[in-house]
């Protein structure tokens, strides 16, 4: 048994999990702040540990930015009463948050978040079928929501669950088909090799912009965010599938949503925006020095953050689609568009070869 491999993989898993949770926590803060700015408000600006007011300038500044808000939110979720309503189906009620959060965390296993650090590849599992694994895992995420809706024994969560199952199943098809041109062009299913291809030939975004648009919209739908947030449409369904949940179970759904968001942003960066590579300062080769390795990880994170800002921005911009419009867009627009996209790409590659 290769102890070296096991230890390094464990370290990477812990680091990635920690980072993912931090990003998810701060994505909530970003969501609140950006929504506040867009709506001419201030946003969270009070929460601070008691000693922070003795730090001059910086303490006030951090408090105004709401830096401590995620910590306070997390603490609050832990301390709240974990209430189980009387009529719920207990087993599924307990199972649903876990079923919903596990796939969202598993997805990041195949994302290359950097090139090399020392001799370690900065990816937890360098699978040859990375993207297939991702789609396989992502499609499990819907079970958590459906189970939550079913287990709550209440009509609104039920509606949320039903809507989400229909929505996620339809958009998975266009999502899956939208990335086929990427693999046709790059010639591999392995995400590390896709990034290497992009580092040499330029970002795939320039080769397949239509794929990016379809993937972006489909990932809005997959992560249940506005304009496709029908499963948790607050104005119609109270809270959607997590209406009956409280405390840490609710927090898990929340975490799942934001981890999904992070993962799909990471996937988009990997597939379309060159992952860790940047075509300046010679940062488009796998790193040989430690500094370059760290720079690559930071580049990846910055790209992810930019995309997540876009996710959040879009949420506060669009009204929700009606259910039939959503289905119409998914089945009658994006699937044919994705098919045409595949066809054109394939024809182009065939003619060129």
């Amino acid at each position: 048994m290769d102890w070296n491999f096991i230890i390094f993989t464990l370290v990477k898993i812990v680091a990635v999990l920690g980072l993912l949770h931090t990003i998810a926590g701060y994505a909530v803060l970003a969501e609140r702040k950006i929504s506040a700015w867009i709506q001419d408000r201030v946003g969270p600006n009070r929460t601070a540990p008691p000693f922070i007011k003795y730090v001059p300038v910086l303490g006030t500044l951090l408090t105004r930015w709401g830096i401590f808000q995620p910590a306070a939110d997390g603490l609050k979720f832990m301390l709240k009463e974990d209430f189980t309503p009387a009529g719920v189906r207990k087993i599924y009620f307990w199972l649903a948050p876990a079923v919903s959060v596990i796939p969202s965390i598993l997805v990041v296993a195949v994302l290359p978040f950097g090139s090399y650090l020392g001799h370690q590849k900065m990816v937890i599992a360098d699978l040859n079928v990375g993207i297939l694994y991702t789609f396989g895992i992502v499609s499990l995420g819907v079970y958590g929501i459906v189970l939550a809706g079913y287990a709550a024994n209440s009509k609104y969560p039920m509606f949320g669950g039903i809507r989400s199952s229909a929505q996620m199943i339809s958009y998975e098809i266009s999502m899956g088909m939208s990335v086929i041109p990427v693999f046709l062009i790059a010639g591999s299913l392995n995400l590390t090799q896709i990034i290497n291809w992009q580092a040499q030939h330029g970002w795939l975004f320039f080769y397949a912009p239509l794929s990016l648009i379809i993937f972006l919209v489909a990932s809005f739908a997959e992560t249940n965010r506005t304009p496709f947030d029908l499963p948790e449409a607050e104005t119609e369904l109270v809270g959607g599938y997590h209406t009956e949940y409280s405390s840490m179970k609710f927090a898990l759904f929340f975490l799942a949503e934001y981890s999904n968001m992070t993962a799909s942003a990471g996937m988009m960066v990997t597939l379309f925006f060159g992952g860790w590579s940047l075509p300046v300062f010679g940062l488009d080769h796998p790193a040989t020095t430690l500094v370059a390795g760290i720079a690559h990880i930071l580049i990846f994170l910055v790209k992810v953050c930019i995309l997540m800002t876009l996710f959040i921005w879009v949420r506060w911009m669009f009204p929700r689609f009606r259910y039939d419009q959503l289905m119409d867009l998914g089945w009658r627009t994006f699937i044919p568009l994705a098919l045409v996209n595949i066809l054109i790409t394939a024809l182009f590659l065939w003619i060129r070869s």
Partner: protein
């Protein structure tokens, strides 16, 4: 009769959603920019910034003193009777109780309690008071650590109410009567 409104069907460009998407991006961007760099936020940061209350604002009811510093309340208990949520509780002095601390009054209350948790700030006590001894003032955020703490007694109400200077009941009534002497009455 039904009116048929002609609805234009969307053109190709509109069906793409793109113009609407870009328009939305522009609007939200403008607002974010304004609230970030131009100070366009409309939020009032409450405990530090307070709004100016308009005249006639109905806040917490307090007892007031007249300009000589004596209690105006004569313990008639009209406010107690009119109070819709029964927040006011008056203990009258009784036959051998406390004499009034001003000349032209027979008595004053021994105890006057307003339960601020029950009070609905309707202003009926102020309206009904024949002595103009209770006024809804501009306090709106009353806090306490227990329910008992929010039952204000006579001393506290008098201290909080202060003196409403210049209001002398009979002078006021006389002025009111004079305005009604001419006909038609223009109030």
């Amino acid at each position: 009769m039904a009116i048929i409104v002609d609805r234009k069907s969307l053109g190709f460009w509109e069906k793409l959603y793109l113009p609407a998407v870009l328009g939305g991006l522009k609007v939200t961007m403008r607002h974010a920019w304004r609230s970030l760099f131009k100070g366009g936020q409309v939020t009032m940061e409450y405990p530090e910034q307070r709004w100016t209350l308009p005249d006639g604002y109905r806040g917490a009811p307090y007892l007031v003193r007249d300009q000589e510093g004596s209690t105006k309340c004569v313990s008639c208990q009209l406010c107690e009777f009119v109070c819709p949520p029964k927040a006011i509780k008056i203990t009258p002095p009784g036959p051998n109780g406390l004499p009034a601390d001003r000349k032209n009054a027979e008595k004053m209350p021994e105890e006057f309690e307003i339960n601020m948790l029950r009070c609905i700030y309707c202003g009926l006590c102020q309206e009904v008071c024949p002595e103009e001894a209770i006024f809804l003032q501009k306090d709106y955020s009353l806090t306490g650590l227990s329910r008992g703490e929010l039952i204000y007694n006579k001393e506290k109400l008098l201290a909080l109410g202060g003196t409403v200077g210049g209001i002398q009941k009979w002078k006021h009534k006389l002025e009111e009567a004079k305005t009604q002497e001419q006909f038609p009455v223009n109030v």
